[in-house]
């Protein structure tokens, strides 16, 4: 399953990257004579309520959805690894405090807080970096900022077992500093399960972004991310079901292949052996 998923995901990524170069229809080309038309040769995925070509919009939206997914994963991995590493290498009160914060974040209701943060800070960032960039940075930071906890716990658990191993002791005996111990010796050995967790985070971040857009609180309406397409499509379910089906199908296909890849990686690396 994992191998098939890699192929599917690669095809998706390729079509998103190369697709707009081959399918040269503007995403905001309005054509009222072709409103809500079902898939045809002229519009392979049909059109929306303004007669805009859905294939072009899906390809464009896919870039954003995947970019958000990977960027948010990077943020979550970075924060999680940092906190987990600091907690894992230092004993006593720093460790306890960091783990308390981690547990606190784990019990936060994520979606309401995501909505709250975006509601509060959207305008400020829009002013700073423009509407598209501002919302992108905000969504990536916020989704990443609410997903680092499992990574931090994993990294800490790895550190706790690895720091007692002989090779670490040997390096310490040779006079390696704490920083060098962490960066050169412990961290590379702790990364396996972190990569698995990161894979699944990409899927979760894509879902989170689509959710926000679906609730009408993500990207502005002129940027057709997959969630936004679904949000717009939901009022036309009875006359243009293809609209919702293509957008939702794309999210589903991406997420399920990422999940299968994560599962395959987990089987291959088997983090349980180390934990």
């Amino acid at each position: 399953m994992a191998a098939i998923s890699v192929v599917v995901l690669a095809l998706l990524a390729l079509s998103i990257l190369v697709g707009p170069l081959l399918w040269r229809v503007a995403i905001n080309d309005i054509d009222f004579t072709a409103r809500l038309s079902p898939p045809s040769w002229e519009h392979p995925f049909g059109t929306d309520d303004l007669g805009q070509d859905l294939l072009a919009r899906m390809l464009y939206g896919g870039r954003i959805s995947l970019a958000v997914g990977f960027a948010a994963m990077a943020v979550a991995m970075f924060v999680g690894t940092l906190i987990g590493a600091v907690a894992g290498i230092s004993r006593g009160s720093i460790d306890a405090a960091l783990m308390w914060v981690t547990d606190l974040f784990l019990s936060l209701p994520q979606l309401p807080l995501l909505l709250l943060v975006i509601y509060l800070f959207r305008d400020i960032l829009k002013g700073l970096v423009g509407p598209e960039g501002g919302v992108f940075i905000l969504i990536v930071l916020v989704i990443g900022g609410f997903r680092w906890m499992p990574v931090a716990r994993l990294v800490r658990a790895q550190f706790l077992s690895l720091r007692e191993k002989e090779f670490v002791e040997a390096a310490r005996a040779l006079g390696a500093s704490n920083l060098r111990l962490v960066v050169r010796h412990i961290l590379p050995n702790a990364l396996g399960p972190v990569i698995v967790a990161g894979t699944i985070d990409v899927a979760a971040a894509i879902i989170a972004e689509s959710t926000l857009s679906f609730l009408g609180l993500g990207f502005p309406p002129d940027i057709p991310t997959w969630g936004r397409l679904l949000f717009d499509a939901k009022d036309y379910l009875d006359i243009a079901p293809h609209w919702a089906l293509f957008a939702g199908g794309a999210i589903f296909l991406t997420v399920i292949s990422i999940n299968f890849i994560g599962d395959g990686l987990r089987d291959a690396l088997d983090p349980r052996k180390v934990m």
């Binding site: 994520q110 979606l111 689509s210 679906f214 939901k234 379910l237 589903f252």
Partner: protein
């Protein structure tokens, strides 16, 4: 047991305080003035505006404001909704039973599906049933709730016309008919939410049962001559449930997130749809209060998980 409960309750307090602090700091850091609307209103003279700012202490240090806000929340003074023109606590009290009803029923459905399926799959690992269950679980939690909701509406409301897709509180019917209409309109939201959770729970249950089922004490129970159903239910599942309860408790934030989405799709008048409409209407007191209520619900369900631990494994409550 009472002692244990009290200890867990006391431990829950700091996390509630932490959450309220995070909420408050977010609000304080955010740009925009809660009195911004007053500032642009030409009918309010500047002296009145200044007096209002003094009265609500907007220019005080942040810690003072936090303490004052906390005391007000504890007194049940949750503020006034700008959009609905009633007190926030009354608004939330009106909405919360619907949310709890939908979320609670969905959780029961999820467990009712996940426990038997996960256990049976673990009893016959890598059989056809196990592989089917695993595939369906993957499909289940890769399908976002907003998409399954739309799919169900498309199939059962638009194409078949069997179920209503707008949730109504004021059903004009009496007696059995009223109950029937209520069940009909709740089927889709509960299925969407329940099956999404059931998918991930199934995987938890399967791996937890798989961990336990090979242990020696299970073999002992079997060789004593107990029948298989007793071995599984009383010996295996009870122990396997301990890690499952942890994972279910960790899922609670996701569950309430899913509730927001389902409420929004099916127009259920719960606190989730209240949150969305408050955000769209810039109704800050309601947004703050609903977010805090969600946080409280998560902490409450974590407490519930602790109680279930104590029941599943009495050793835990004596520690």
């Amino acid at each position: 047991m009472g002692n244990y409960l009290l200890r867990r309750l006391i431990l829950a307090l700091p996390s509630l305080l932490g959450i309220s602090l995070i909420l408050f700091v977010l609000l304080a850091l955010a740009p925009g003035d809660p009195f911004g609307e007053l500032a642009t209103n030409p009918n309010i003279p500047p002296e009145v505006r200044e007096a209002l700012r003094m009265k609500f202490g907007i220019d005080d240090p942040i810690l003072v404001r936090y303490l004052r806000w906390l005391v007000a929340m504890l007194h049940g003074d949750w503020g006034f909704s700008f959009a609905s023109r009633i007190d926030v606590d009354r608004l939330i009290l009106q909405r919360i039973p619907t949310t709890l009803y939908v979320v609670g029923t969905a959780q029961l459905l999820a467990l009712a599906v996940a426990l038997p399926v996960g256990t049976y799959a673990a009893m016959r690992p890598y059989s056809i049933f196990d592989q089917l269950a695993n595939t369906f679980a993957f499909i289940g939690f890769s399908l976002p709730t907003f998409f399954t909701g739309l799919l169900l509406i498309l199939i059962f409301s638009v194409n078949l016309g069997w179920l209503p897709f707008v949730y109504r509180v004021d059903i004009a019917a009496t007696g059995w008919h009223w109950y029937w209409e209520n069940i009909k309109q709740a089927i889709m939201p509960i299925t969407v939410l329940g099956l999404f959770q059931a998918a991930s729970y199934t995987r938890y249950v399967r791996s937890a049962v798989l961990d336990v089922i090979r242990l020696d004490y299970v073999t002992t129970a079997r060789s004593k001559g107990l029948d298989e159903s007793k071995v599984i239910v009383k010996h295996v599942v009870r122990n396997a449930l301990i890690p499952v309860v942890t994972l279910v408790a960790l899922q609670m934030p996701t569950v309430f997130g899913g509730a927001i989405i389902t409420e929004q799709i099916f127009r259920i008048p719960g606190i989730g749809s209240l949150l969305i409409s408050a955000i769209l209407a810039n109704d800050t007191p309601v947004i703050m209060a609903v977010t805090f209520v969600f946080a409280c619900l998560v902490v409450l369900f974590n407490l519930l998980a602790d109680i279930i631990y104590g029941w599943l494994d009495p050793r835990i409550s004596y520690r």
